[in-house]
Amino acid sequence: MSLQHLLTELVLMPIIAFVVGLFLVLMMRKLGARIQRRVGPPLLQPLYDILKLYGKQTQISHGLIHEIGIVMAVGGYIAAETFLPVPGMNGIADKGGLVTLAYIMMVPSLGLAMGVGQCANPNGSIGISRALTAMFAYDIPFILVIFGVAYQYGTTSLTDVIAIQQQQGMAGWGVVQMPLLFIAGLIALPAMMGKHPFEIYVAPAEIATGPMVEMGGKFLGGLFIMQCFQYYTISVLFVTLFLGGGENWLTFLIKVFAVAAIPLSIAYVFPRYRTEDVLRMMWKWPVILGLLGLALVMG
């Protein structure tokens, strides 16, 4: 593969991720609206929001780190997208792999945490403390899932994982091979997306949207972009691990939207847990299922 080809992919992958992410956000808002018995926002609403926020004429910053934090948050995800193979494009998936991706996905969190910390707002700091605690909670089942998949397919390379699944057809999909791990991952999914009942770090009624509390204008716009990337990354990762990746764009997008629809639709019928209940929830059922699943995989 030529360098030019690779560079094109590296440019295209984040752009695709952003566009798909916009529609994932739209889907979330539409789903919520339908459950709440109303119409919901128009088609391009997420885009309007972001453009409007970037078009603000006065922007309030709390200092350099506030700005760098947003840059890190968005940039981390832009980088992460190039590690996620999509149909026809592998990007640099073979240079990192599953473990690298899992850790690169923490870079935006750390960036955001820096930015919020600089705002000197206790609400934001509590939000970050909760977000990191939530990360601690969901990463444990998630890491079991990653281990299981890596062990099952004998590789940490995402391209290999997809290739093996696609060779074996539907029967080789992770969901068939490792149903228990799939369920464990599914339970962790809403927490990874930060949705109810695990939405502890936004919690408007408690800490006034936590990390977003001092974010306005392009700062908030950056977070909206980050949210698009976040939804995309997590659902694509899930599709890659368990649903055989994408053979073509159609099936790929169907899978991505279907996976994302699960946490996004249950989000609206749950309140949020307390922080320690999130930990308890995440460290109990998905971990038990994950360990059983691992026992099956390794046995």
Partner: protein, 621 residues
């Protein structure tokens, strides 16, 4: 006279120089220059590090009772020595300028500090150069006493705790050596290694176990870790940076020597523990994992920056041991590389915290905050340090941890893997607390006039930060040394390239990872600046539920930073763990009181007595 002798002489010269320079202004600088000289001498031996030479022998030999003591350097020694001397040089550089002056003004003795540091380096070099077990023991004792001296500069009480541990450790090691001698009839490495293959499991259990306990105390393996935190935290800043960076790794060096070189990890696998599915290696791996988890979670509760770091120092040791006992090419490379990585970021973190203490006079995380605007470079150093410590890309800590994770996946040890990940996540949590409470958040009014640390402190930090980033970008720089160490101690050798690891099923290329990450940041910056111009506002211009914030409100969220987590693990932490710690500490206090009594009254009988008891015990066995 070989290069090694020159190095040791140079090191001895450092001690003498430190002694003569005393409290003069130039003392720190002159010592630093000699450390640099040592570094040059070491660099001249870099053939060891790149596997071009297998060993350099010292010309000095001693024969006592027909027993030949000799010293030599191989790749392993060179790797550790290089880190040691570099850390000492940077710590000395860091301490030479403003810090020394302030320390002197507070009534500290720079002479003592410099001598203690130089003695530490000398002791460590002697230890690393040991050619057989007895010289190892001599080096070990040198290091122990030198460390004691450095620790005693901080807090006598905690230094005494250490001393108790160190004496127990020394006795245990001595016992192990006696047993070895009784069983093998020699203390030469090759002979021991040859004989080890023929020994029965019980003997290996005893010898290996005693050695691991003895050296593990220095390395602060669980459950022998309790002395370290408080002692390191109390040590004068640059001293803590040096100790945190490398001192404990001497234990690891010795363990690698014993377990890998003499006994062999594969041998451990053949030693099952009755009634379990575990082998001796698994036991060690689990000790390593617990060494990762418990101290890391304990660090979460600390509100003193130095203690927090010291707890992490213990926790990170677990990764190294774990990597080494996994013993495949990836894992052991990860463990060994982590020694280097850990030294870099731990030093930079301790330095940054020391810089903060230097400027504000406190390392209590509840009394700091918002210092970024006043000490941006120290912030940068700490940021890079914590990213390394947390093991996130693009810093070097990620590479070594990645190697460990990868080897655990290949090895098929999900629970160990889970343990390491818990450690990493716990680290992320507590380092965020560290940087948030120090540099982010509300700037306290009394700190509004604080300045950046002086250049003499900032430069070493920046240098180390650069090293952390560079070796994260091009891990091949360090992996080369690591590979020759692996070859030297008989481990499978890692296939590496400049950017990381080639592997058929999932490699790592940090050059790409970091480049893409940087490109991502660049694009994000472009996106960010496509938005309107921003204006900075004062921290009181802040959302407070529509309220007016006033200068007398303290709204920095600092204490009990992760209450949700503590609601869950807090009871465990408070009851069992803390009580155990308290019990041990009070026992220690008692013992150290005894020890200090003997020490003051000059009763060597204590040591003799213990020695005799242990010797009798082993002989009877």
């Amino acid at each position: 006279m070989s290069l090694l002798d020159k190095l040791l002489i140079l090191s001895l010269l450092t001690v003498v120089l430190a002694l003569f320079m005393g409290n003069r202004k130039m003392a720190g600088w002159s010592v630093t220059v000699v450390y640099a000289g040592q570094l040059v001498a070491l660099w001249m031996m870099s053939g060891l590090g790149y596997g071009e030479i297998s060993e350099i022998r010292s010309a000095v030999e001693l024969t006592i009772w027909q027993y030949r003591l000799h010293w030599q350097f191989d790749a392993l020694s060179w790797f550790f020595a290089f880190i040691t001397v570099a850390a000492a040089m940077l710590a000395s550089w860091f301490s030479a300028g403003g810090w020394a002056q302030a320390y002197r003004e507070q009534g500290g003795s720079i002479r003592l500090f410099n001598v203690a540091l130089a003695l530490n380096v000398l002791g460590m070099l002697v230890l690393l150069a040991s050619g057989e077990l007895l010289s190892l023991f001599i080096g070990w004792e040198l290091v122990s006493w030198a460390t004691f001296m450095l620790l005693a500069l901080g807090s006598m009480r905690y230094a005494m705790h250490y001393l108790v541990y160190a004496i127990v450790g020394a006795v245990v090691i001595l016992a192990a050596m006696l047993m070895t001698y009784v069983q093998v009839g020699s203390l030469e490495f090759n002979q021991v290694a040859e004989a080890a293959a023929g020994l029965d499991n019980t003997s290996i259990w005893w010898i290996g176990g005693l050695f691991v306990i003895g050296f593990g105390i220095k390395m602060a393996l669980l459950p022998f870790h309790l002395w370290q935190t408080k002692a390191y935290a109390a040590t004068p800043g640059p001293g803590a940076a040096f100790l945190g960076a490398i001192s404990s790794r001497m234990g690891l060096f010795a363990i690698v020597l014993i377990l890998v070189k003499l006994i062999g990890i594969s041998r451990l696998l053949e030693m099952p523990i009755s009634f379990t599915f575990l082998s001796a290696r698994d036991l060690l791996a689990w000790v390593a994992v617990f060494t990762i988890i418990f101290p890391t979670l304990t660090a979460l509760r600390q509100h003193d920056a130095r203690r927090l770091l010291a707890w992490h120092g213990i926790g990170q040791g677990g990764y190294m041991l774990l990597g080494i006992v996994v013993a495949d090419d990836l894992g052991s490379a990860g463990g060994l590389m982590h020694v280097f990585n850990h030294a870099t970021y731990q030093a930079v973190l301790f330095m940054s915290v020391t810089a903060v203490v230097y400027r504000t006079g406190t390392s209590d995380l509840n009394k700091l905050g918002g210092l970024f605007t006043r000490m941006p470079l120290s912030f940068l150093a700490m940021l890079i340090g914590i990213i390394g410590l947390a093991g996130l890309p693009p810093m070097n800590g990620f590479v070594s941890k990645w190697l460990v994770y990868r080897s655990l996946i290949i090895d098929g040890s999900p629970m160990l893997f889970l343990g390491t990940v818990i450690g990493t996540l716990g680290t992320i949590l507590s380092v965020y607390k560290l940087i948030h409470n120090t540099f982010l958040g509300q700037l306290r009014l009394e700190h509004e006039t604080v300045e950046e640390a002086p250049l003499s402190m900032v430069l070493p930090m920046m240098l180390l930060s650069a090293v952390i980033f560079t070796t994260g970008f091009f891990p091949g720089l360090v992996l080369g040394w690591v590979a020759s160490v692996q070859a030297a101690v008989g481990l499978p050798v890692l296939a590496y390239h400049a950017g990381g690891i080639d592997s058929a099923n999932g490699g790592l290329d940090m050059i790409w990872v970091v480049s893409v990450l940087l490109a991502g940041f660049a694009i994000a910056t472009l996106i960010f600046f496509s938005g309107g111009r921003s204006r900075r506002v004062h921290q009181l211009d802040n959302y407070a539920g529509g309220h007016f914030l006033t200068a007398d409100t303290r709204y920095q969220y600092s204490d009990n930073f992760y209450p949700g987590l503590m609601h869950l693990i807090g009871p465990w932490y408070r009851s069992s763990f803390k009580r155990m710690e308290q019990g041990l500490v009070s026992m220690l206090d008692f013992l150290s009181m005894l020890a200090s009594g003997w020490h003051r009254h000059g009763h060597p009988s204590f040591y003799l007595l213990t020695l005799v008891v242990v010797v009798l015990f082993t002989v009877v066995m």
